[in-house]
Amino acid sequence: MASIDIAAIHKSYGIHPVLHGIDLEIKDGEFVVLVGPSGCGKSTLLRMIAGLEAVTDGEIRIDGKRVNDLAPKDRDIAMVFQSYALYPHMSVAKNMSYSLRLRKTAKEKIASVVASAATKLGLDPLMERRPKALSGGQRQRVAMGRAIVREPKAFLFDEPLSNLDARLREQMRAEIKKLHQDLGATSIYVTHDQIEAMTLADRIVAMHGGIIQQVGSPLELYDNPANLFVAGFIGSPGMNFFEGRYLATGDTANFALTGGIVLPLGGTAKLADGSRATLGIRPEHVILGAEGPDTMMATVDLVEPTGFGIIVHLKLGPVAFKAFTLDRRFLGMHGEVAVKLPVPNLHFFNEEGRKV
């Protein structure tokens, strides 16, 4: 187990910069999840920690020791690849014991470690098979097994579940979480999947364009996104955004949407009068069928039942937004509905996209 420090890391492929100064401290035993849109440099960062990509500038320390120039084999970390990268000509047992055999571990030790990992992952009946005779989920388990037999300083996962179907992904997600609770190993996990990020992470690192946008606990990022990117990226269905102008009129400010509609805010925000801004609200915070002051009439565009709840697509003049509700009364809704955007749940972002 070890801490990992990433200090001012830059990476360029030739003249193309990919990472622009990443700073991140990962504590011993922490489970950190990297999320971000495709191409933002998550895999690149992970591969640099593993030693598979050279560091252009900056420093990576594992347990306080600089590892920039260390070969992957000397870093004592394990990695689970998206493609699993199992050795096709070796049996499951050989795949799992490969790293131990390279280290000339005693035979009895190898046998006992591999057997206990196999039991933990439910691989016992498959130990003599070749990878090509396994299902996707079983291959995934073998890849996990290959990582855990070594008791490395840290685990790196690059979208390990993205080739599995939804049900299996859910199951493996829980198993990874359990494994982490058992082993307590420092882990860095790259994913596209919102739910994986939210459920697994001690801390989420949201990246965009080679820059870290926000680091924090899952709920911190959900409840208090630092900027427009994080607000829009975390959560599904995503946050609603309304562009417009903030108009302070005494105690109760208004928000003039670009389309001409004025939202009464029923409160104030830390924005200058007349400044351009973006207002955000999560779909589940939009109150449908509201009564009383500060309600507006919105047109119902589409109703999507998800089983668990209902996503309602609405239009406020030309501006489209969504609401999420558990109330099945809204299933057959059409025409107009009164909506309310409660002030405590509103997020304001200034012109630069920062939260205020």
Binding site: A50, G51, L52, K73, M79, F81, A85, Y98, L102, R150
Partner: protein
């Protein structure tokens, strides 16, 4: 419905006139006859004729030859010391040529597998020897070994490997090595290109996984590269073995089997018998023996391959 129709069709067929039934039955054979006749003429007739020569006395310069002589050629052959030497030389020639071509081809393929500036051009250049006609390659190397026009003897002399610059092609002890070296030069591209193609088909993430698992370059080569290359290596080595043991061009051009038949392989010995001594009958007998040997070898390989496949 369908089965009813089929039954009706079946009963009706039995009632067709005999002539029509014959015509229907022979139609497929008539259609394929032209192709079959062509194949038989082109492939089998020369083979059978060639084999029949082995049992006849055919000498181009002797107008009274041509009679059937049974196994006489084979009796002579079993006592022909030159033939045994040629057989030994064939092993020597094939073994070293294949081994060296393979080793250098593999090294070249491994080098070309790493990205570097100008790799595409180098890959194209590597192909060059393969594109040179074999007799041209032979002539070229013969000149290179010739102290009068070529530099190699002088270089070897300068390095102290030779007491004086002489032609190794005329040294009975060394003459075999001249064609072997030319053959290695000529055949490296074949191995380099096929092995390179196989190398590039190995998924890169396996190497990454192995290096994270703690494997150094040598261990990665042994536990990933070799298992992936094994089928390609097996097939190419086997094919080249058959091909090279039959490949007399370089020897004919460079040493003509000499001096004193010291660099004669079976294939070049056949050539010498047939076209120098014009004894077609004897040459055919030798060729038949070579054919049997190579077929035996090929069958062994096929069996070995089946066994390897079934083991997996």
């Amino acid at each position: 419905m369908a089965s009813l129709a089929a039954r009706n069709g079946g009963s009706r067929r039995d009632q067709r006139p005999l002539k029509k039934r014959l015509a229907d039955a022979s139609a497929p054979y008539l259609y394929s006859a032209p192709a079959l006749i062509l194949i038989v003429t082109v492939m089998l007739v020369p083979l059978v004729l060639g084999i029949s020569y082995a049992f006849r006395d055919i000498q181009l310069l002797n107008p009274f030859s041509g009679g059937f002589i049974g196994l006489d050629h084979f009796k002579t052959l079993s006592q022909d010391q030159n033939f045994y030497r040629a057989l030994k030389n064939t092993l020597w020639w094939t073994g070293w040529s294949v081994l060296l071509q393979f080793v250098f081809g593999l090294i070249l393929a491994l080098l070309l597998d790493k990205p570097f500036y100008g790799r595409a051009i180098v890959q194209a250049l590597v192909f060059l020897p393969w594109a040179v006609p074999s007799f041209l390659a032979g002539l070229n190397w013969a000149w290179l070994f010739n102290p009068v026009v070529g530099p190699i003897p002088h270089w070897l002399f300068a390095l102290g490997l030779m007491s004086e610059p002489y032609n190794i092609l005329s040294d009975p002890q060394l003459s075999m090595w001249g064609p072997i070296i030319a053959n290695v030069w000529w055949g490296i591209p074949f191995f380099a290109i096929t092995l390179l193609a196989a190398l590039q088909a190995i998924p890169r993430d396996l190497y990454e996984a192995a290096s994270i698992d703690g494997a150094g370059p040598v261990q990665r080569f042994i536990s990933i590269t070799l298992p992936f290359l094994a089928p390609t290596i097996a097939i190419t080595v086997l094919l080249r073995t058959v091909w090279i043991s039959n490949f007399a061009d370089l020897i004919i051009v460079m040493t003509n089997g000499g001096p004193a038949d010291r660099s004669q392989i079976v294939a070049s010995y056949i050539f010498t018998q047939a076209f120098k001594r014009l004894d077609f009958g004897y040459a055919s007998a030798i060729a038949l023996v070579l054919l049997v040997l190579l077929i035996t070898y090929s069958m062994l390989i096929v069996v070995l391959r089946q066994w390897l496949l079934s083991k997996d």
